[in-house]
Assembly symmetry: C2
Homo-oligomer: 313 residues x 2
């Protein structure tokens, strides 16, 4: 318990329950046992008092039990009744629905008073807005670990998924610091580093480095497929560079459609930025100034190398 926290706890105006537990003493409920939820369960093994996995399909729960990702399983959110920490690791549209369900359960007294609710959704503004409507007995902390794979599902889950990943935290203005600290402890426990960020800020940045690049990747594949539909030898010529550029187009379409619609404004704004850059490139290709084209390509190559040097390749 840090000094700041002790100060808060001695404040008689403090309404929410005191933090009585560290993660090691917590029952953690994970709703959604795909790549993210399954990997979280594996990473938490032996580091939380109990991990309860919640998934709609009984086979998923059985598989999660079999690989040791969870200690107990259930098919319904009401199984989170004993949880100190609930993690929603479902697609964004499901998270939004589950936040409402959590609100109903809390209103019925079916959850622990002071339960901490977090999520792993890829957009944060819509989710934090929904969290703001929760009863005061729930401590909400929006979160987004910046890792993943282009494949999804429990089959590809691994306990090392979160290592060295930035784990964005979006506590709400009403969130108690101890609740944010518990989610930060969760992040650190699985090897990630907590990074607090405003939800709108998070959404603008992920539009630029994840959502719009995904759409570009889809468009690159679709444009080539358009040509190849009448000329399949095109595929024979596609080398590793084409596979890299279109790797993100292999992402789960249900998950991505969810993300794109829930981050619509920021994605569209960044798509405009992307179009401008593509137009600039096209005009340099159309022109005769080879030195200007070369200089612009070199400028961007150098910037990218600096990014790789600083942030890892």
């Amino acid at each position: 318990m840090n000094g700041k926290l002790a100060n808060r706890l001695s404040d008689p105006s403090l309404q929410s329950p005191a933090p009585t537990k560290s993660l090691a003493d917590c029952t953690v409920a994970i709703a959604g046992l795909g790549l993210m939820g399954g990997s979280l369960g594996l990473a938490l093994r032996g580091k939380a008092a109990c991990v309860v996995g919640i998934a709609r399909r009984a086979e998923t729960v059985e598989q999660a039990l079999a690989i040791g990702a969870i200690d107990a399983g259930a098919s319904d959110l009401s199984a989170a009744g004993n949880a100190d920490l609930i993690v929603l690791a479902t697609p964004v549209s499901v998270i939004l629905r589950q936040i409402d369900q959590i609100g109903v359960l809390a209103g019925q007294g079916a959850l622990r008073d002071g339960v901490v609710l977090t999520d792993m959704g890829s957009t944060k503004a819509a989710i934090c807005d929904a969290m703001a409507r929760l009863p005061a007995s729930v401590q909400p902390v929006g979160a987004h670990p910046m890792c993943g794979k282009e494949t999804s599902g429990l089959d590809v889950a691994e306990g090392t998924l979160y290592r060295d990943a930035p784990f964005i935290l979006c506590p709400l203005p009403r969130t108690e610091p101890w609740a944010t600290s518990l989610v930060a402890e969760l992040a650190e426990t699985v090897g990630a580093y907590p990074l607090p960020l405003d939800p709108q800020h998070h959404d603008r940045l992920t539009a630029a480095i994840s959502h719009a690049p995904y759409l570009a990747s889809v468009a690159v594949f679709a444009a080539a497929a358009d040509l190849a539909s009448g000329d399949p030898v095109a595929w024979q010529l596609a080398a590793s560079g084409f596979r890299s550029t279109t790797r993100l187009a292999g992402s789960d379409p249900v998950m991505m459609a969810d993300i794109l619609h829930s981050n619509r404004a920021a994605v569209l704004e960044h798509i405009d930025r992307l179009r401008e850059q593509l137009d600039l490139m096209a005009s340099l290709v159309a022109g005769d100034d080879s030195a200007a084209l070369q200089a612009e390509l070199a400028r961007i190559q150098t910037q990218r190398q600096a990014f790789l040097d600083q942030y890892g390749s």
Copy 2:
């Protein structure tokens, strides 16, 4: 020597010299000792009578000799005087210049009569047009092995680079079949498979699966960099998907500017196709029909998976 070839040789109207050698008996001159030329030299080790490397910089020649990529070295194209096969493995604009130099040397009688000239340039129409102007004593065969790396230079050359790669061959209407066969033998010797293609056809296809994807990759990076210039935390959030999508943006800008300008029309035509796809995606993101967005993303994901299943991932 195949039957067709024997027939041609018995034809008294045949003007060009007979093919007297297989690759094992040939002196091969490689102009340009970067990734492509250096890897070719390494792959040809012990499989040609002699490999002469030609590079402007003496240090490059020395390095190529030291790693065993060439048997002898020189700084000037005139060193190809004894070659049975000349391979231009320089950037496209240099290849175009060197074809003219080859023409001058051939006109001076400074090259073997019936020397076969091929290249490894990434565009083929401009190069084959230039080859068409060569004297009859030169047998031209445009070529393009579809492999590479986003890094360049002799340092990253490797003898296995060409393995299993399609090796596009663009013989000219005037090219003797035995000359095309010699270049096909070269391709097979280094582990690639020869794939004859019309030069314009080659350029349309590579615009779609290589040149336009490169520009998209550059635009994705540049648009993110535009945002990150005022908000560098963006880079901290960039995960492996962003690195994949922008991998091609790390390609050598001098080489790429050359390729883009020499394949301008096909690249611009495909950029239009790419813009259309991006516009379609943006309109689906802007709309409220989540099922329609999901269906389109799923359709493209499925197509891409089929491509990977058929052509390797």
